[in-house]
């Protein structure tokens, strides 16, 4: 499979206010490739650099040194920035900050209008995108009447309407209640499965990361773990030492192993945990 995102030796510092002093590096040499169609979670505590990394995938930030290529386009290539942002869309944390129109369908059409997509084509893409995220029946509503989860789905529809190859989501569920979180997770999983869209999900929620195909863990501007969820979460001590957590079932299994019981370390689902415990009591 082709690589959709290629990051080579990426270093980044925010501009220093004091010219004499070098600004601290937020990203300290990241090498990362993401294949087309992957569903990747990026974990890390506040300040680990994960949002800064995400913003490089959409050319909101440009490398201080190193190189980021998305869909074959160098993010530093100003000429092709619009092309790049069509193939890699970004969803942010606060749903209220990314809605621009007073009617749902107009909001979804916003980017298409800017791109000059013909009316018929735009109509079709807006309707399809709204159906994809389950918000079609709300197309004539005002976004202000929607819940946080619904607003995020509208924001996702606005991106899907551009037919992107990749969506980067920066803590899209942080401000939502459990129901809203489930709606958004179900939507992005479907986009990945049915449309083959590559998903990069920045999150603080371990249960969301456990649903992804691959987890990249960041700490102090570096990637420290990069593997399937089972392998990543089995490193309970390492994750705790960098301020992260593991799903409760993984933690329980880890405690049982520490007490000398023979249960598999790589458990991340409730089902597997139930089976492992039942086996102990056989």
């Amino acid at each position: 499979m082709e690589n959709i995102i290629e990051i080579e030796n990426l270093h980044f510092s925010y501009a220093s206010e004091d010219e004499k002093e070098a600004a601290p590096e937020v990203l300290k040499g990241i090498d990362l490739t993401i294949k087309s169609g992957e569903f990747v979670a990026v974990l890390g505590h506040n300040g680990s650099g994960k949002s800064t990394l995400a913003k490089h995938m959409n050319a909101i930030l440009l490398p201080t040194s190193g190189k980021v290529t998305v869909d074959g386009i160098d993010t530093a290539d100003e000429e092709r920035i619009f092309e790049l942002r069509q193939s890699a869309g970004m969803v942010f944390q606060n749903p209220d900050n990314q809605i621009v129109s007073s009617i749902v369908e107009e909001d979804v059409a916003f980017a298409l209008e800017n791109l000059g997509v013909p009316y018929e084509e735009m109509r079709r893409r807006v309707d399809e995108a709204l159906k994809d995220v389950g918000m079609y029946e709300y197309r004539m509503h005002s976004p202000s009447q929607l819940s946080g989860g619904q607003k995020q789905r509208v924001a996702i529809a606005g991106i899907i309407a551009m037919c992107p190859k990749c969506i980067i989501l920066d803590e899209p569920t942080a401000m939502l209640d459990p129901k809203g979180r489930k709606e958004v997770m179900a939507t992005i999983k479907r986009m990945n499965r049915e449309h083959g869209i590559t998903i990069v999900l920045i999150t603080h929620y371990m249960d969301e990361a456990a649903q992804c195909g691959r987890i990249v863990v960041m700490d102090k501007g570096r990637t420290v773990l990069d593997d399937v969820p089972e392998k990543v979460f089995s490193q309970v001590e390492k994750l705790k030492s960098i301020g992260l957590d593991v799903p409760q079932v993984t933690e329980l299994v880890w405690e049982l192993r520490k007490a000398g019981y023979d249960v598999p370390a790589e458990i991340i689902t409730e089902n597997d945990c139930v089976e492992a415990i039942l086996k102990l009591f056989e």
Binding site: M175, M206, L256
Partner: protein, 290 residues
């Protein structure tokens, strides 16, 4: 003794218009002095409207709110005093910081209460200690602090007013796991020192399970239940039915029970789950050598 009570509290938004919506519907409850309470309910359940009645930000359409046995609206002139006694910390309180130094920001509330300098100083230092803000930070600008530190400063500002009842609306929203644990730990420190009543609104059952004596659940403008933590979690399926989450570990033990492995107890923390399992395994005598 009950510190905060509501009697048939009802509140309707936009009454008399087509947008009329009853957000709190005949809610009666009683909160005891010194309790730590978890408040849950999905978006639109009425929980925010309910807590805004507790310090008189909203006035009931009908029914009453009692603080220390007295109707808070009995004398409208005294509603300001109620706000000193019931402190409300909003979501993302770090956006409300405005003072030049951390010390001044925490001291702002106590100052408005008309306290003398010595008392203000005592309160600032004690709450800063509870919330884990070191003394060196007190003279710094709050805007130089990290997001988590800013949030703790904002919370300390309300704590320093030493309200009889402290209400925090999602104090851990947007924080990473270590940040979440830290904030809850600091709130517990404050509770241990002051013994004041605390209500914490949270979507995270895992968080609520770690501190709450009792849990108040709102659903569709009504009080769904208000009971001891164990008892609320024993109704896991109903809780999930109203769009809330129960801890993962509670779901696992629910399945184990249905599969015939019943521990006869409600489990909602990993620590307790481990304790129960290890005890049961020991009794079974099946420790494997590995």
């Amino acid at each position: 003794m009950a510190i905060l009570e509501t009697e048939e509290l009802t509140y309707t938004y936009s009454e008399g218009t087509p947008f009329e919506k009853t957000a709190v519907d005949h809610v009666s409850l009683s909160i005891e002095e010194g309790e730590m309470i978890g408040v849950m309910g999905h978006t639109g359940s009425g929980k925010s409207t309910l807590i805004q009645h507790f310090n008189g930000l909203l006035k009931p359409a009908s029914g009453r709110v009692l603080l220390d046995g007295r109707d808070i609206w009995a004398d409208k002139e005294k509603i300001r005093d109620v706000r000193f006694q019931v402190g409300l910390v909003f979501q993302y309180p770090e956006y409300q910081i405005f003072e030049e130094t951390v010390y001044k920001d925490i001291a702002f509330g106590p100052k408005n209460m008309g306290l003398d300098e010595a008392e203000i100083k005592r309160r600032v230092l004690e709450t800063a200690h509870d919330i884990g803000i070191s003394e060196e930070l007190l003279e710094r600008s709050p805007f130089e602090l990290s997001g988590g530190q800013k949030r703790r400063v904002a919370i300390a500002g309300v704590m320093a007013m030493e309200p009889k009842v402290l209400i925090l609306d999602e104090p851990t929203a947007g924080l990473d796991p270590a940040g979440r644990d830290k904030i809850l730990q600091h709130i517990k420190n404050y509770h241990r020192r002051t013994k004041n009543t605390i209500l914490i609104v949270s979507h995270s059952m895992e968080d609520i399970a770690s501190f709450a004596d009792r849990i108040l659940v709102m659903s569709k403008a009504k009080l769904f239940c208000f009971d001891e933590t164990v008892k609320v979690f024993s109704r896991a399926e109903e809780i999930e039915g109203i769009g809330l989450d129960v801890p993962q570990i509670t779901r696992v033990f629910g399945v184990l029970k249905r599969r015939g492995l019943d521990f006869g107890k409600e489990v909602y923390t990993v620590g307790y789950a481990k304790e129960l399992l290890l005890k049961a395994l020991k009794e079974k005598g099946g420790l494997l050598n590995c």
